[in-house]
């Protein structure tokens, strides 16, 4: 069932046109990987889908036109994780996660309703960060901080999660952990869109892959189809070693040095 769709989406940054006529339709309960070379427009597409930047064309979310939804309502439907897990002030992790309840009217972490506290705790337990609830985010390691950022996004309990490179700058173990957590969330019926440069992770965890190239959708579909030899060669200018390990698809990007 389609939860989020876009028709004829165009967007510009300044005078440069970044997205050209993108149409897509994404289903609830799917983990969608958004891949493409640097500068292909992945982040712009994610922002446009969340309504964070102006775009032309139509975006529909759960039957409603995004353009007609007020800001507060959009915030309840999209949980957005920006690149870099930025936190500007050294607040305790619990306060950061509690900000996920902001769209629901809980703007003060010291005065959460029972319902909000439960949502925050559920989110913290899902990514296993309750142990450092009272520690400042600035004192955490990169892996721990990325999990706190993820918990903040989960605490929104939105039907759509848009995550921009949630695995960037994490070690292999943490990358797999984060993708597995997002996979688990998708399995509960949430639509999760993940921007990633790691084609291996995309092939292993995603239901669908969207390949973006110079602002256009070059391919979309199941990982096997969307990440075909032809797409690899045309879009990424690489080939790939393909195998299966423990019954999961493995892709190792390869280019002659």
């Amino acid at each position: 069932m389609t939860l989020l769709s876009a028709t004829g989406l165009n967007a510009s940054l300044g005078t440069r046109k970044v997205l050209h006529d993108i149409s897509l339709s994404l289903a609830a309960g799917h983990l969608v990987a958004l891949v493409g070379p640097n500068g292909a427009g992945k982040t712009t597409l994610l922002r446009a889908l969340a309504g964070l930047i102006p775009s032309s064309g139509e975006i529909r979310i759960g039957g409603d036109a995004l353009a007609r939804l007020p800001l507060r309502e959009r915030a309840k439907r999209f949980a957005y994780l920006p690149q870099g897990h930025m936190v500007h002030w050294p607040l305790p992790s619990r306060d950061i996660v509690a900000l996920g309840r902001y769209p629901h009217g809980a703007t003060d972490p010291a005065r959460l309703s029972q319902k909000d506290v439960e949502a925050v705790l559920r989110a913290m337990q899902a990514v296993d960060v309750t142990a450092f609830a009272d520690r400042r985010v600035t004192e955490l390691s990169g892996g721990e901080r990325s999990r706190v950022a993820l918990a903040r996004v989960l605490a929104v309990e939105a039907p759509v999660i848009l995550a921009d490179e949630p695995t960037a700058s994490l070690d292999p173990r943490h990358q797999i952990d984060v993708m597995q957590k997002l996979r688990n969330v998708a399995d509960t019926g949430v639509l999760v869109v993940v921007v990633t440069h790691d084609l291996g992770l995309a092939a292993r965890f995603a239901d669908d892959v969207l390949v973006l190239s110079e602002g256009r959708l070059a391919a979309q579909g199941a990982p096997r189809d969307a990440l075909s030899e032809a797409v690899m060669a045309d879009v990424f200018r690489i080939s790939a070693y393909r195998a299966e390990y423990q019954r999961e698809a493995v892709i190792v990007p390869w280019a002659d040095a």
Partner: protein, 347 residues
């Protein structure tokens, strides 16, 4: 961790913050009473309280209620709005070095006021003065944020602030330069130094409405500053209208700073110092810092205004001079602490 544990931990932290805020409020009130007692006739805080509520001698009543009360009210309100403006700008820009005076807001407001005075456009006690000062302050903060753009780094903000305050200073100098009346020039020069001396209830009526309006606007945006901890994009995705927020903060700061400058001249660095003094006590949450920073600003300006009256000197020291003398070394210390971020290049 259970729901109860979670709630309990929040409550403990909240109680500590409330305690600190209450203590600060008590300090500000005490300083206000001392301020009312200082002058050619010294009165104890007890005598001051008595006179305030209509007791004591007639002379004491006149001294406290009519001569000194306006000065104390202005010190309290202006210190408060400067502290609040600093905390709000730091929250908006996620930057501990943001403050009205570093961004040239008081200097620009002063330029507006000086222009009105020297051109003889309006009487010094008319509402034209604060209104022009507010418009000038609004223009300067607006220009700064427009130049700095979204997600501005420290370096850009400080360079742009330097340029704007230098420009406002130069424009003020030009006005004085072109003025044909040397007495007006001298008066403006002293007024620019920033002082609370000999202020009447007329001055209070001139400044207070704008200061209160500015404070209400800034305080109403508290939770948006907290959401901004995650950056502009994430805050926007949580439902914060960033464009509207910026405009409201600029308006609030301009109303407060413009209103304050119109009656006292430029008093710098309180907006920078107050939030910093509060962070170790209250924590870094920009929403919770607003009220304590305002109280700390009040306490700082009241203390500075007491100090200029008891420091022995042949001519009286202006309070704006004192706050800058204390504020600039503090600013240098902050730059040293932020050296790594500043050295990080043009962000």
């Amino acid at each position: 961790m259970s729901v109860q544990d979670f709630a309990l931990a929040s409550e403990v932290a909240a109680r500590r913050r409330w305690g600190a805020t209450a203590a600060l409020a008590a300090l500000a009130v005490l300083l206000a009473l001392i301020s009312l007692g200082i002058g050619p006739v010294r009165l104890s805080p007890l005598a001051v309280t008595e006179a305030l509520f209509g007791g004591g001698s007639d002379v004491a009543q006149v001294i406290v209620r009519e001569i000194r009360l306006p000065r104390t009210i202005l010190a309290f309100a202006i210190g408060g709005i400067l502290g609040l403006s600093g905390a709000a700008l730091q929250g908006l820009l996620r930057n501990p070095l943001a403050s009205p005076s570093l961004f040239g807001a008081p200097q620009s407001a002063a330029f507006g006021a000086v222009l009105v005075i020297s051109l003889g456009l309006a009487d010094v006690r008319s509402y034209a003065l604060p209104v022009v000062a507010i418009v000038a302050a609004f223009g300067s903060v607006f220009a700064l944020l427009a130049i700095a753009g979204r997600n501005a780094g420290l370096l850009i903000l400080i360079l742009a602030g330097l340029a704007i305050s230098s420009f406002a200073g130069a424009a003020t100098a030009l006005v004085m330069n072109l003025s044909s009346n040397p007495f007006v020039v001298l008066e403006i020069a002293f007024w620019l130094l920033g002082s609370l001396e000999d202020r009447s209830f007329q001055h209070v009526a001139l400044a207070l409405p704008f200061i209160v309006a500015g404070a209400v606007i800034l305080l109403s945006q508290a939770s948006a500053f907290r959401a901004l901890t995650l950056g502009e994009e994430a805050a926007q995705s949580l439902g914060v209208d960033i464009g509207r927020l910026r405009l409201l903060v600029i308006t609030g700061v301009a109303l407060g700073v413009g209103g304050a400058v119109a009656v006292t001249g430029t008093i710098g660095f309180i907006g920078l110092v107050a939030p910093h003094l509060m962070r170790p006590v209250i924590g870094h949450d920009p929403a919770r810092l607003l009220v304590p920073s305002a109280l700390a600003g009040s306490a700082l300006l009241l203390a500075a205004d007491i100090a200029v009256r008891i420091i022995p000197s042949t001519s009286d020291i202006k309070v704006g001079v004192l706050t800058s003398i204390i504020g600039v070394p503090f600013f240098l210390y902050l730059i040293m602490r932020e050296r790594r971020a500043l050295g990080g290049g043009v962000a």
